[in-house]
């Protein structure tokens, strides 16, 4: 695609179009901050109310798998950043490989996540399905596990959407619709992917690391 056809008629030039697109994506990401923010606020409120039960519930999370998934997601952010860089330098082959690596790591993340969910099912601590945790504060522990599934579930949904977006970007690069003058789609997709990484960066300590020190 030539630079002329990449430019929508209501923009002065490609740079202005690029700025407008990234600004629009950031505004969307701010709505996402508020979307997850409601759940984070609820989590903070109940953790302050039931600190003991939240510590107890946190022990049901598998720290090793959580830390491994954090590393996997951070690595996927690196490959995504390198894909944007390669696209802006006009290296479609490198871009496609970096995007493929990002997708592979995203799938690994979801696989590990699924394994954790399966372990929760085996331990019979899935609320609404087979929650049979016993103890004086079982109800409050169940509340923590609800936050665990709600937050990680919504995050996983964002990962799945991200995988679809990255797959679309791969076809764009494959068909040479991206050039150093117009790599905005890759940049914007990267913003989304990195945002989902940031959400996990907060979920990991808030869900897995509450009560390791006792």
């Amino acid at each position: 695609m030539s630079d002329g056809s990449a430019l929508a008629h209501h923009f002065e030039d490609l740079e202005q179009q690029h700025d407008a697109a990234t600004l629009g994506m950031w505004i969307f990401l701010v709505t996402e901050v508020m979307f997850f923010g409601g759940l984070f606020a609820g989590y903070t409120m109940y953790r302050a109310t039931y600190p003991g039960a939240f510590a107890e519930g946190s022990r049901l999370c598998e720290v090793t798998l959580g830390a491994l998934n954090t590393a996997v997601l951070i690595t996927s952010s690196l490959t995504m950043a390198l894909a944007v860089r390669a696209a802006s330098l006009g290296r479609p082959r490198t871009t496609v490989w970096c995007l493929a690596g990002t997708m592979l790591l995203g799938v690994v993340f979801l696989a590990i996540k699924f394994l954790e969910y399966y372990h929760k099912y085996q331990e019979r601590v899935v609320p609404g399905l087979n929650f049979t945790y016993a103890g004086p504060s079982a109800r409050q522990v169940e509340l923590f596990i609800c936050f665990y599934f709600g937050l990680t579930g919504l995050h996983a949904l964002h990962m799945i959407i991200g995988l679809v977006v990255v797959a679309v970007m791969m076809t764009l690069v494959w068909r040479r619709r991206v050039s150093p003058a117009h790599y905005t789609p890759i940049e914007v997709a990267g913003l989304y992917w990195h945002f989902v990484d940031i959400v996990w960066i907060f979920l990991f300590p808030l869900l897995y690391l509450v009560d390791l020190h006792r």
Partner: protein, 100 residues
């Protein structure tokens, strides 16, 4: 195009620091610091989030307008959590006088 092209070593360095901070937060969580466990965990998380936003998302090199939007998002999130907690934590501080 605006100059968002960072040298390769910037991305690799940020990546290495992010991995190191992940290891650090997992390690520190096992040491009993009392109330400061949650402070340390959140400080490390904020540092990691800033590294991702500033360099991977190029926020450090974006126009001020875009930085303002991102900052506004964080400010409103803090308002949401601060006002919620000001209610939750202050319950029971005051009691109505008898007979009311």
């Amino acid at each position: 195009m605006t100059s968002q092209l960072l040298p390769l070593r910037v991305y690799v360095t940020v990546f290495a620091v992010l991995l190191a901070l992940t290891g650090l937060t997992t390690f520190v969580a096992r040491i009993d610091l009392g109330f400061f466990n949650v402070i340390v965990a959140l400080t490390i998380a904020v540092a990691k989030a800033l590294l991702v936003a500033l360099f991977f998302m190029h926020l450090a090199h974006m126009k001020h307008r875009t930085q303002l939007v991102a900052g506004a998002g964080i400010l409103w999130l803090l308002i949401l959590i601060a006002l919620t907690m000001s209610d939750v934590l202050s319950r029971g501080w005051f009691h109505p006088p008898a007979g009311l």
